[in-house]
Symmetry: C2
Subunit: 114 residues, 2 copies
Amino acid sequence: MTPTDHADAKHPATEDLSLPRVLSALSDPLRLGIVHLLSDGQERQWGELDAPVSKSTLSHHMKTLRSAGITRTRDEGTRCYVHLRSDDLDERFPGLLASVLRADSEDITPIGLK
Amino acid sequence: MTPTDHADAKHPATEDLSLPRVLSALSDPLRLGIVHLLSDGQERQWGELDAPVSKSTLSHHMKTLRSAGITRTRDEGTRCYVHLRSDDLDERFPGLLASVLRADSEDITPIGLK
């Protein structure tokens, strides 16, 4: 993990969010689980997430969410933090995140907190 | 599966629609364009669609939409028809299709009628 991994350059501007890309990033059970966990608006440290995958796999999913503009990540020393860009998503695609979070689907991997 | 599901080998039942799969099927500019075109509720013959892709590529996209439960297709002689499963999607994932159709994104391929 380099400092530039969480640089602003890695976060697309709100007006540049792409619908196909956002939908693609959301089209995964584990990433949907992460979005659900973050939907309370809290910023979470990656290490807090209780996901049934390896650190490298979690990192891959986090990058997918971040590069699509769904989450914003930041470093603080050696720790990585993440939060949901709810306002940005609502501004760009009104109602999309809410409908995804409201959806009752068994194909969402529950992610807890350690 | 109940008789009212209208499910068959090609079309998943409404209760079997998967959120990740629906989102994945929607995460493509051309498929979003097809969904936009069909959002008026009209059934269309495939040959009517003015898409900037080959017949075989269009057929592939149509299969992706159908197998995710987004569209229903039927044959009549040598002709293929398609319509949007708006009611089924609304029942399973309320508001999702509306938010996707409302989204203003440049990453949607406009599909016209010949």
